[in-house]
């Protein structure tokens, strides 16, 4: 089990009011699984990703990463965990004034010593530069390596963010709606690129997708989030119209009063 979430909740304080971003989410993820995450904006997808990559910690419940409770991780242990989780952000989160190559190189920071970091500012290690160039080639940006990140188009920035994750070479890839700002064709290319990569290198992939057909076509398992709670968690073959209707309905029922537990499957990790 790479992730084991046990009724994880996350509250934020906003103007002295508690806002419930996630409410008692229970989820098990096996190594090498590919999961699509569906849900309206505000359903808690971004919060879930920030919990999964160790940026924030749960207000209640426990989150185990590879058997370790993330709440108890500190310093080096925390960095080691974060190194194994790569995130592609909704807004890409690139450093605008650095070049594409430098942004890609920064993916390797987690495994660089301080000395190597300092040396790398002047002259990055040869092995690292080669890896970074290879990553840029994979996403089709090799010719843009010297361009600043803020000079790239939205789609190119997206692919650059993917290259940074490839450079990091993590065990888990989290992708927070990376296709939201792309046109349909590019969105499909991006999805198939990430899904293919994960399948070939047996990486875990959790991706927030805003198009149902992409989710059912590329991902064996589909999870629906609604208003901070788990709405459904089913294999791709079981994604039906009524599930989606309740997920996207404006005045639908809250996830608490679903009819029965039949929609939650017990996924077992293959040995």
């Amino acid at each position: 089990m790479i992730y084991s979430l046990n009724s994880v909740s996350k509250f934020f304080l906003q103007r002295r009011e508690q806002v419930e971003a996630l409410n008692a989410v229970t989820l098990q993820v096996c190594p090498g699984e590919q999961i699509a995450l569906l849900g309206q904006s505000g359903a808690g997808k971004t919060t879930l990703f920030r919990l999964l990559n160790g940026t924030i910690r749960p207000t209640a419940g426990s989150l185990l990463f590879d058997g370790h409770d993330t709440a108890s991780l500190t310093g080096i242990g925390l960095r080691a965990m974060r190194r194994r989780v790569g995130t592609i952000y909704q807004q890409h989160n690139l450093v605008p004034s650095l070049t594409a190559l430098e942004n890609t190189l920064s993916g390797a920071l987690g495994r660089m010593s301080l000395l190597a970091t300092l040396r790398g500012i002047l002259q990055p290690a040869k092995a690292d530069s080669e890896l970074a160039l290879h990553a840029l080639e994979l996403v089709g940006l090799a010719d843009k390596r010297a361009a600043r990140a803020d000079e790239l188009s939205g789609g190119q920035q997206q692919r650059l963010a993917a290259a940074r994750v490839l450079m990091q070479s993590p065990d888990v890839i989290l992708a927070d709606e990376p296709t939201a700002s792309l046109d349909p064709e590019l969105a499909e290319t991006m999805t198939s690129l990430l899904a293919g990569l994960a399948r070939d290198s047996r990486k875990t992939l959790i991706m927030a997708v805003h198009k149902v057909d992409l989710a059912t076509r590329y991902f064996p398992r589909v999870v629906g989030l609604r208003a901070g709670g788990l709405s459904f968690d089913v294999p791709q073959s079981e994604v039906r119209g009524d599930l989606l209707n309740s997920l996207y309905a404006r005045d639908g029922k809250s996830p608490g009063d679903r009819d029965g537990d039949s929609l939650q499957y017990k996924f077992r990790c293959a040995r």
Binding site: R50, N53, G54, T55, I56, R57, T59, T70, A71, S72, L73, T74, G75, L78, R79, A80, M81, R82, R83, V85, G86, T87, Y89, Q91, N93, L94, V95, P96, S97, L98, E102, S106, G107, L109, G110, R111, M112, L114, T117, L118, I121, R164, V165, Q168, P170
Partner: protein, 555 residues
């Protein structure tokens, strides 16, 4: 490559001319001198007798700053209007075919700009020296110096504000047949007022700092008391004066920030004030309250002018007016004898060296202090994973606030006071001036650096943190690349300010041109003073030119 070599050559040049002797810093005698100074700072002198002196000095400084600001506003407004290019020689208001009017307008605004530039370029302490020589010791000289110097600063800002108002309403007014005067009063002025108020309040703060320092050349106030107490080795008194000065700065800063937010956010805050007003002062009507406020302000102004030496006795005493005109006569013609001009070479190079070396030292210290003073680097988010024990939190808190405190102390103490302190450690000369400039610069730049790094977009920072980067890696890869252009241009701007400052460090023993100025004033060689002032003006023009190019280059 070439720029690296040039950089090292400049550094070597500065090292040589600023007479940097790091050995002196580590000499046991230096440590003893510093310890002697620091230990005798405590306890601060709080005797009633001395506090009465402090109170008098503080009121004098305040009065000088208020009167100086008011006078400079009255000079700056007409000059600023005249210097506004959009009113006279370009943009929608100027008829392209009227060549004569165009030519006159162009000349007038050029002339006004040049005058403002000159007033601004000559340091206020040099103006103070001139006025002390012309009208005698006391706050009157200080007030006049401030009003001349800040006319230059404010006039330039006013002209820039007038030029950058939205031109569309002006065009509309012009099409109704309004005269240029009407367009200014009804179109430009209303748009400019909030910014004018904000800048004027800000310049009052600067004026207050300057007013405190002018005393070093005999213009009264806190600076005068500090220099007297330093000379008497009464360091406890120095500490009291410095603490009071810093307190004064904090209070003024808070008051002007309050007034500034009110003046910028016009309508909404006005409504808020009205609702607050009804709760606190129910008995008075809006109108009568405004009247009371105006009377209070008027009283404050009159009192300031009186305390700043604008009383009949001082003004008529021994004919201040005739003395001043006589003084101007004695400054001319300027001394251009080869012997004198030739002797200025070393002092000039020394001044440039002090400014460069002081900026470099300040930069290095600022970086060291700014990193822990950047809250986004030092503190971790409250809800980030990992157990952050009490000890860990306390350590981070302590690190952050001590860095901020050191920066604030470095910044609040004026350069000239730092020179006096450094002289105790390393003796009179350019080395003391350089360290003093470096310390003050570290305070100014460190605060700017920390604030810039805090305001960098945080998304890339979060991305790197989440892939396992440590704090130093985040600093080098996410914060520095984003903050670099601003940090560089702040540093270049500071160097320009420092070059001006290094021309006056010598007035209290910090080397450079100031030393020459001081000597010639003491000896009464006023024609030489004219030459020196023109030299400083040329130096400042050159540094403006270089700085502008450098800033374009780095950003």
């Amino acid at each position: 490559m070439l720029s690296v070599v040039a950089g090292f050559a400049l550094l070597a040049f500065s090292w040589w001319f600023a007479e940097i002797r790091p050995g002196v810093l580590f000499h046991p005698a230096t440590a003893a001198a510093i310890w002697n100074f620091v230990s005798r700072l405590f306890p601060p002198d709080l005797s009633t007798e001395f506090l009465r002196t402090v109170l008098r000095a503080v009121t004098q400084t305040m009065a000088t700053a208020i009167a100086g600001t008011l006078l400079s506003i009255t000079v700056a407004l007409p000059l600023g209007v005249l210097a506004t290019g959009t009113l006279w020689n370009r943009g929608v208001l100027v008829a392209a075919n009227d060549r004569f009017a165009y030519g006159v307008g162009w000349m007038a605004s050029r002339l006004a700009r040049t005058i403002l530039g000159f007033l601004r370029a000559v340091p206020d302490l040099v103006w103070a020296l001139l006025f002390v020589a012309a009208v005698g010791l006391g706050p009157l000289a200080g007030t006049l110096a401030l009003s001349v110097s800040y006319s230059g600063v404010l006039g330039r800002v006013y002209a820039d504000v007038f030029e950058h108002v939205d031109p569309r309403p002006l065009e509309a007014l012009q099409s109704t047949g309004a005269t240029r005067m009407q367009i200014f009063l009804r179109g430009v002025w209303p748009q400019a007022v909030p910014h004018l108020t904000a800048y004027t309040l800000y310049s009052f703060e600067c004026c207050l700092r300057a007013a405190a320092v002018l005393g070093f050349v005999g213009a009264g106030g806190i600076g005068y008391e500090i220099s007297v107490s330093m000379r008497l080795f009464e360091y406890g008194q120095v500490l009291t004066l410095l603490l009071v000065f810093i307190l004064l700065l904090i209070v003024t800063d808070a008051a002007s920030r309050y007034l500034r937010t009110r003046s910028i956010s016009g309508a909404t805050s006005e409504r808020k004030i009205r609702s607050e007003g009804t709760s606190s002062l129910k008995l008075l009507t809006n109108k009568s309250r405004r009247l009371v406020a105006w009377i209070a302000v008027l009283f404050l102004m009159v009192a300031s002018f009186a305390l700043a030496g604008f009383v009949p006795e001082t003004l008529t005493q021994a004919g201040v007016l005739s003395r001043s005109t006589g003084f101007v006569g004695r400054m001319l013609p300027l001394d251009l004898s080869w012997a004198f001009v030739n002797s200025l070479g070393t002092a000039l190079l020394q001044t440039i060296a002090i400014s460069l070396m002081g900026t470099v030292i300040g930069m290095a210290l600022a970086v060291i202090l700014a990193v822990p003073a950047t809250s986004t680097l030092t503190f971790v988010r409250g809800d980030s994973p990992g157990k952050h024990g009490i000890a860990d939190r306390a350590l981070r808190w302590l690190l952050f606030w001590s860095a901020r405190l050191v920066l604030n102390i470095l910044r609040s103490i004026p350069e000239l006071v730092w020179v006096l302190i450094c002289i105790l450690a390393v003796g009179i000369g350019p080395f003391a001036g350089t360290i003093a400039l470096g310390l003050h610069t570290a305070g100014v730049l460190g605060k700017l650096y920390a604030e810039t790094m805090e305001e960098v977009p945080l998304r890339p920072v979060e991305a790197l943190r989440s892939l396992g980067a440590g704090p130093i890696q985040v600093l080098l890869w996410a914060i520095w690349p984003q903050a670099r252009p601003l940090l560089s241009s702040y540093t270049v701007l500071r160097w320009e300010t420092n070059l001006r400052a290094s021309t006056i460090l010598g007035l209290v023993g910090g080397g450079g041109l100031g030393q020459v100025i001081y000597n010639n004033v003491q000896l009464g060689f006023y024609p030489r003073l004219t030459t020196l002032i023109l030299l400083i003006y040329a130096l400042v023009l050159a540094s403006d030119w270089i700085g502008e190019r450098l800033r374009l280059h780095v950003s």
